[in-house]
């Protein structure tokens, strides 16, 4: 059974319809890639899942429970964690405080979880008493991933985590994301770096102007002529 299931989701801003009948699913333990160029509606899609945007119609189903247009509070509690575009850390709070806030709706065993995050990101441990706003881009991204993990989500939504980061930093973050997945957390990752996500994911969806146009196994998609032409420049 699918862990997260989206059925015929429509959403937009004002009169502008951004998402058109989007349907997709993420199974337990999977890494699923969500591709698309600028303005395709990827971020709107993520925001609508976690309740920051109102869905016009359709279903967001997590673990068999319908969560469409529920308060974010309830959606996060159901086991969805999000690493938002632009990281959106609490700039004036320390790294430790940021991680604590991630555990706001699941406060048991905070110490242990924080230790395991510091283990994945030793760099964060060194900076744990610094203000999040003073960190470098890569460190901020680590902190954002750590904060999302603090609620012990069953699925992690990651929005454009490579944006503006050096390739070596992206590589190490990619490894951490794969580690997290191996520990049993499903991952839905939105990216523009198509090559990278197709290599790390098992399945992928391609979104164009608000609708899903291509979907399938990542291995097959790498060889798909349309993807090659549109995204890989080959």
């Amino acid at each position: 059974m699918a862990l997260l299931e989206i059925k015929n989701l429509n959403a937009g801003y004002g009169d502008l319809r951004v998402l058109r009948d989007v349907s997709m699913e993420v199974n337990e333990g999977e890494i699923v890639a969500f591709l698309g160029s600028n303005g395709a509606g990827k971020s709107t899609f993520m925001r609508t899942i976690v309740g920051l945007n109102r869905a016009w119609s359709g279903d967001v189903i997590m673990n068999g429970k319908r969560l469409t247009n529920s308060p974010s509070e309830k959606i996060i509690k159901s086991g969805i964690g999000i690493v938002p575009e632009g990281r959106r850390l609490f700039a004036g709070m320390t790294v430790t405080e940021n991680l604590e806030m991630g555990a706001y709706c699941n406060r048991k065993d905070i110490r242990r979880r924080m230790d395991s995050i510091f283990q994945s990101f030793p760099r964060l441990y060194e900076r744990k008493d610094h203000l999040a706003g003073d960190l470098s881009g890569g460190e901020q991204q680590m902190c954002a991933i750590g904060r999302a993990l603090m609620s012990e989500p069953k699925i992690l939504l990651i929005d454009e985590f490579s944006l503006g980061l050096a390739p070596t930093v992206v590589d190490s973050l990619t490894k951490v994301v794969q580690d997290i997945n191996r520990q049993g957390v499903s991952i839905l990752i939105v990216e523009q770096d198509v090559q990278m996500v197709l290599e790390m994911s098992s399945r992928a969806y391609v979104m164009e102007v608000g609708a899903i146009t291509i979907s399938g196994n990542s291995k097959d998609l790498i060889d798909n002529p349309k993807i090659k032409e549109a995204y890989l420049g080959m």
Partner: protein
């Protein structure tokens, strides 16, 4: 010696200003509401204390928790069922709303409690600590201590507790707080309730140090406004420093230049701070500032 006496008077007055400023500054810094009815809410606390004293002979110091709880509840309901509907509106609409609320509350108090000046005088009102030529009334000393203790307690609350940290997080980034599972509507209501509760307590303390009537509501709000800007929005330590500074400045300018100039001087200081350091004296990086 007179200078020292004025300084002490200024500090004693300033701690009260700090307390009334803390609630105002917190609400402004977190919810972006400039609550023009803050002074009127403080006066509701003052009248509550006055009637409890008159009717039941309840010592004013004992009515502090009563005022806090009553005004906390009042503030919570106000935010949840009135302000929350317009919280996303432009700042001008919020100003009009709180200004209207101020007018309503002041007229309500004038109608039902009369426009007369009232005061609360417990039996120990006249006792003072005398050190040489310096005279410090015990009541004012107690008011000072309570204000400082509450300021410290509020700072600890914001730094150390879950709801406190959630308030800070929401003030820094409301969407990020939602993505961490915080419900901003509840946090806004809690913040407004705390601000009103603290206003209620400052109203209670006001009854101990001066006579009051509904007409002074505006003056109280004004002082809270100045204290917030001096200290930096949402900053407890800032409000404490700002309050003490304002108190000392007012007493000195009354002595040296004349009572009627003290508002002009207080505003002059505020403008100066806005020019030199718009984030306030204790304003911190990444936190709310006065936007121009």
């Amino acid at each position: 010696m007179i200078i020292l006496q004025i300084l002490i008077n200024g500090l004693l007055l300033g701690a009260f200003y700090a307390l009334i400023g803390i609630g105002f500054s917190l609400v402004w810094g977190v919810t972006n509401i400039i609550n023009l009815s803050h002074g009127a809410i403080a006066l509701l606390g003052a009248y509550l204390t006055f009637f409890l004293f008159q009717t039941f002979r309840l010592d004013p110091f004992l009515s502090i928790p009563v005022s806090f709880i009553a005004m906390f509840s009042f503030g919570y309901l106000l935010q949840r069922y009135l302000m929350n509907f317009v919280v996303k509106a432009q700042i001008f609409m919020l100003l009009i709303l709180t200004f209207g609320l101020e007018i309503f509350l002041v007229n309500f108090m004038t109608t039902f409690f009369s426009a007369d000046f009232r005061s609360v005088t417990p039996s120990y009102a006249g006792n003072s600590l005398v050190l040489g030529s310096i005279v410090i009334p015990y009541i004012r000393l107690a008011v000072f201590s309570i204000c400082v203790i509450i300021a410290v307690a509020m700072a600890l609350f914001l730094d150390k507790t879950w709801p406190g940290k959630a308030i800070k997080a929401t003030s820094l980034d409301i969407e990020a707080s939602m993505m961490s599972g915080i419900n901003p509507a509840k946090i806004y209501a809690l913040t407004f309730a705390l601000g009103s509760g603290l206003a209620g307590v400052s109203g209670t303390l006001l009854t101990l140090t001066q006579a009051f009537s509904p007409s002074i509501a505006g003056g109280l709000t004004l002082r809270a406004f100045i204290v917030s800007i001096l200290g930096g929005l949402g900053r407890i330590e800032g409000a404490l420093i700002g309050g003490l500074l304002l108190g000392v400045l007012e007493t000195f300018s009354s002595y040296l230049i004349g009572e009627s100039y003290k508002n002009a001087i207080a505003f002059g200081l505020m403008v100066l701070v806005l020019i030199v350091k718009p984030s306030g004296l204790m304003g911190r990086k990444y936190y709310a500032e006065v936007k121009h």
